[in-house]
């Protein structure tokens, strides 16, 4: 794993972010950043950003809660507890069945967390689509979730088109090419 020493501005490296939307925002922020000498060693991994991870955590947990509230018609507090429980069941099921099956079929050796990440996000998208059919306020939550996924897809295209300038900028800070 690559690490950048002594420059706090490296926290904005796009390659320290996972979702394309955050990679794009990080790129824009890094363009404006000046080298900031600091006694730090920063790891370059696509899940390293705290802001991104916690924002996405809050977003998916809120959406999971709303889906369960809609589907099971239970109070929001109980829906929240069930959502947390459901995430654990989903990841255990994915880790025990889906990930080994995927790797056996494709022979790609995809990390288990990537398979479960994709599977759970797909389940959430399906749940959000179901919510859009509701006559209550939850349809807005459903549309919002799907809109964010669409926005992320657009950002992915932009990041792909900007891969050259992003890689150049990252190299000046000491990072690795975005997407590596």
């Amino acid at each position: 794993m690559k690490m950048v020493q002594g420059n706090a501005a490296a926290r904005w490296l796009p390659s320290r972010h996972n979702f394309a939307l955050f990679r794009l925002l990080a790129y824009l922020r890094l363009r404006a950043a000046r080298p900031t000498p600091s006694a730090v060693i920063l790891g370059v991994d696509r899940h390293q950003s705290n802001t991104e991870t916690w924002l996405v955590t809050a977003w998916v947990v809120a959406m999971g809660t709303i889906i369960i509230n809609t589907v099971l018609a239970v109070p929001l507090v109980l829906s929240f507890v069930l959502a947390i429980f459901a995430f654990q069941v989903a990841l255990i099921a994915s880790g025990l069945t889906l990930a080994p099956l995927w790797n056996a079929v494709t022979r790609l050796e995809t990390p288990g967390f990537k398979v479960s990440s994709f599977a759970i996000m797909a389940l959430l998208a399906a749940g959000a689509a179901y919510c859009t059919t509701s006559p209550t306020w939850v349809r807005f939550a459903g549309w919002q979730f799907l809109a964010m996924l669409a926005l992320n897809a657009v950002a992915a295209v932009i990041v792909f088109l900007l891969r050259g300038p992003i890689a150049q900028l990252e190299a000046t800070v000491g990072g690795v090419p975005s997407g590596a």
């Binding site: 955590t57 947990v61 967390f113």
Partner: protein, 300 residues
């Protein structure tokens, strides 16, 4: 039949479960999942009581009910720390590091002879030692207490053999007399020896100390080694600052001066160490993974 041992708090089942979790959990639901599993470990009675009793000494006048919830926070931080450790071993993913006492850290790295790193059971000392070993050309010997459960011990040894940096050697504090000579040789060869100085395991020699106003026993080995080898002791702590963020805190070196009164030299060095320990633990009590009471006496 001891099949159930694997499910006890020190059992190997939890290591396998943790590894499974690290390898299969989407990174963006890790937080809530950690919070749930940390709450489960509140059912570990002896661990919970040990932490609560230590907290009552660290935070004088604190209420037991508040300390119960504080104990959850200790467990939560511990869960993150051991998950970060497994992530490093399995995926070579390291957290971000910041330094406090950088000049002392550089001084430690540039020591011409050997030195002793005295640390506490907080943050991920495994991760810190790995970082140190990989960023330095110095050989580092880490002394640690072995796992209580034989299956867990075997599992950990297999994991360490698979992933450890070449310049990092792990030794166990059970074989006290042999180990003391080995460590003396290592320090005299110019190596760094990292020892935990905040708790004692059965069979090792201890020294009386006062920690958070309570009588406590601390390992005497590091001080005896420093005295015999005439090397400094560097207090070094790894404090978790948030998700994948750690701070390396290095204190001023402690010299164990040779005088006619050996006990007096020891007491002075132990006093310096406990002051350093208190200054780090007091604001970061949720990082101190001492699951046994450090003092035989309940907090006053």
């Amino acid at each position: 039949m001891t099949w159930f041992r694997r499910f006890l708090p020190h059992g190997v089942f939890w290591r396998h479960l943790l590894r499974f979790g690290v390898l299969n959990t989407p990174l963006w639901v890790e937080g809530p999942i950690m919070a749930c599993w940390a709450a489960l470990f509140l059912f570990w009675r002896s661990g919970r009581r040990g932490v609560m009793r230590n907290l009552s000494a660290i935070i004088p006048g604190s209420w037991p009910v508040t300390n119960f919830f504080r104990t959850w926070r200790v467990m939560y931080n511990f869960a993150w720390t051991i998950a970060d450790n497994v992530r490093f071993k399995e995926l070579r993913v390291t957290p971000d590091w910041e330094f406090a006492g950088r000049e002392q850290f550089e001084r430690l790295q540039s020591e011409s002879g050997g030195a002793i790193i005295l640390t506490a059971h907080m943050g991920s000392y495994d991760l810190g030692a790995q970082l140190f070993a990989e960023s330095s050309r110095r050989q580092i010997v880490m002394v640690r207490a072995p796992e209580v459960d034989p299956q867990t011990r075997q599992y950990e040894q297999e994991q360490q053999g698979r992933t450890r940096a070449e310049s990092l050697k792990v030794d166990f504090s059970t074989r006290a007399s042999d180990l003391a000579l080995d460590l003396l040789d290592a320090v005299r060869r110019g190596e760094l020896v990292a020892i935990q100085g905040d708790r004692v395991t059965p069979g090792i020699s201890t020294v009386a100390a006062t920690l958070f106003g309570q009588p406590a026993r601390l390992p005497s080995g590091p001080f005896a080694l420093a005295l015999a080898a005439r090397v400094p002791i560097y207090p070094l702590f790894i404090v978790r600052r948030g998700r994948r963020r750690y701070r390396l805190v290095v204190g001023k070196p402690i010299e164990v001066v040779r005088t006619r009164d050996r006990a007096e030299s020891f007491n002075r060095a132990v006093g310096e160490w406990t002051r350093e320990l208190e200054s780090v633990i007091r604001p970061s009590w949720f990082q101190w993974f001492a699951f046994e009471p450090f003092s035989p006496e309940p907090a006053r």
